[in-house]
Symmetry: C2
Subunit: 348 residues, 2 copies
């Protein structure tokens, strides 16, 4: 085990119950498995999915929060080879060895030795399968805080939006529609455009989000929802529907809207964690669209995303419309819950 000076305690976010978020003293996590690494977190953030337990839609009790992170390695286990103490790293919210058959087929989010990262809204965090989960940022910690914010976005929302756009087969000549104007939806707009989509249609009825969608490359912003929203997409595509659609909300209305907005033979990528969604088999059969969703295999995209961010080709950190010190995390949850912020970055 290689290590550096690590304190015994730290500050970290705990959600005790829905709506009850505090920052508390906690023990600093240390290497447990030989494949672990411990990071000093440089920046963390609050995820749209953290709002499910915050709003009581998902059970929660005294849970250390956070699964997005950039940080500096302070300790590695004896089996860690590619990541060294002092490296500045980004990692996926999914743990992956990046070498099993599922990982190498492109789905590190479902690694056979995988799991989920947790507790990154804190000063330190333990990352399992460090060699597979983490990617070292070339050149070390960037000086520009905007670049750090963008790298942080890559850890989940950008990577998830990117997966949605890839699943929707965004590319040259394609019209891609994006359902959802949260940080993931906006990231999907950016991704679709970066992947070469000819036209990106965003759905939004909030001026701040619509503005960011446009900045990220949306050619059209549609205010209508549900069947009316889908009808609008058909109207914009000669009656056929979009070639591909990204669903980035996770409820029944958004899922139905996504499928209805897609042309037969098109592709729907659904990356909003499904809550209470049910799909009728016969409707899906006659929609005749390809459907792929799930926890995003962010690790697959990370090296490319890091390159694009360092080259300033993409600026996904703009989804962070509020920045707060870690100590004020509760205020960040409130702001996201009330939709006053698209996404909140926590300065650690």
């Amino acid at each position: 085990m290689t290590t550096t000076d690590i304190p015994a305690t730290m500050r970290g976010v705990i959600m005790h119950a829905p709506g009850d978020v505090t920052v508390e003293d906690r023990e600093v996590p240390r290497v447990v498995e030989p494949t672990d690494a411990v990071l000093r977190v440089e920046a963390a953030c609050i995820c749209g999915s953290d709002l499910w337990p915050y709003r009581g839609v998902q059970p929660v009790e005294d849970q250390p929060m956070g699964h997005e992170y950039v940080g500096t390695v302070v300790e590695v286990g004896s089996a860690v080879r590619d990541v060294k103490v002092g490296d500045f790293v980004v990692g996926s919210f999914c743990v992956s060895d990046n070498s099993c058959e599922i990982c190498t087929s492109g789905f590190p989010s479902r690694c056979v030795n995988g799991g989920f990262v947790g507790g990154t809204q804190a000063q330190y965090t333990r990352i399992p399968q460090a060699d597979g989960t983490l990617v070292v940022v070339p050149g070390g910690k960037p000086e520009d805080p905007e670049v750090i914010a963008s790298l942080l976005a890559a850890s989940d929302v950008l990577g998830t939006g990117w997966f949605g756009a890839v699943a929707a087969q965004a590319g040259p000549g394609k019209t891609i529609a994006v359902v959802g104007d949260g940080a993931v939806g906006l990231s999907a707009v950016l991704a679709a455009k970066a992947l070469g989509a000819e036209r990106v249609i965003a759905f939004s009825r909030h001026e701040d989000r619509a503005a960011l969608a446009r900045e990220f490359g949306a050619d059209v912003v549609v205010a209508e929802r549900g069947d009316e929203g889908a009808a609008k997409v058909k109207e914009l595509t000669g009656g056929l529907g979009a070639h591909g659609v990204v669903e980035a909300v996770g409820n029944q209305v958004s899922m139905d809207q996504a499928i209805a907005s897609c042309r037969p033979g098109g592709h729907v990528g659904f990356v909003g964690v499904s809550h209470g969604v049910s799909l009728d088999g016969q409707s899906l059969f006659f929609a005749e669209v390809s459907l792929l969703g799930g926890p995003a295999p962010v690790r697959r995209f990370l090296p490319d995303l890091i390159d694009r961010i360092l080259a300033r080709e993409i600026d996904p950190g703009k989804v962070f419309t509020m920045r707060l010190p870690l100590e004020q995390a509760a205020e960040g949850y409130e702001a996201m819950d009330e939709r006053r912020a698209i996404k909140v970055l926590l300065e650690v």
Copy 2:
């Protein structure tokens, strides 16, 4: 309009109500639209999907039956260019102009000028969009009745099984599982093997069907169903699941079994017309499989299938385990309903 000697009346199958099938005198259909052709049907057959109304699962009243066919063109409309009187043709059960944006993207089953063929269990049938829907068999009507049977199979069951295997991304190095041992499922076994799958796992607990599955290339036949069937596939694939799965039944158990048999990142092609199937969004999200189903775009595959059949590379006509004269159609429905025949060919 070009035409040849066509009688005024013919014999054709009518389903009056569930379980009530007769062969009756009917008017011979003639060209209506300039894009139509009329065929003298050389062979037709009974489809698994014809059993839904036969069993009362789907409403039916005095309906001319049949949507699979091979035949000789006897009349064409003024706008028909590529198909001529005297040509021996195979066509899809879906009408397609084969030139619209959806057709050319590979989904003629959802042609913007499309629809469904009907009433082919008869001596004559009218085919809309003849140039797009029909494919001329090179060399004219084959002498070998086995080849004619195989061409007839291409019209739906083979084309549908093929689509399922393509949607499941069957190919070299892949393990493909097939749920359903009806004619479509068996055709999917043949298709998966013809497309180069390394290993094909068929599900069957009927010895005649299992034997044909083996003849079509199944390497393993699994008798277990549902969760146990899926567990067996995982056991056979190092705990991961099949790379791709074809669902060829259309009910809840088969759909759940198909998804559960597939590895994360794998592909499920579902070609059994869904009846009463509901998919839980969250389960599908965490299954993380690609899902594509719908009426098969048979026309996309027909030229290739015809070539393979004429070269005797594949023998899909073996799904016809019973042959009856058209007049005995009712007996054929009964035999399929009682699973005494896998598929019944009607000699016209």
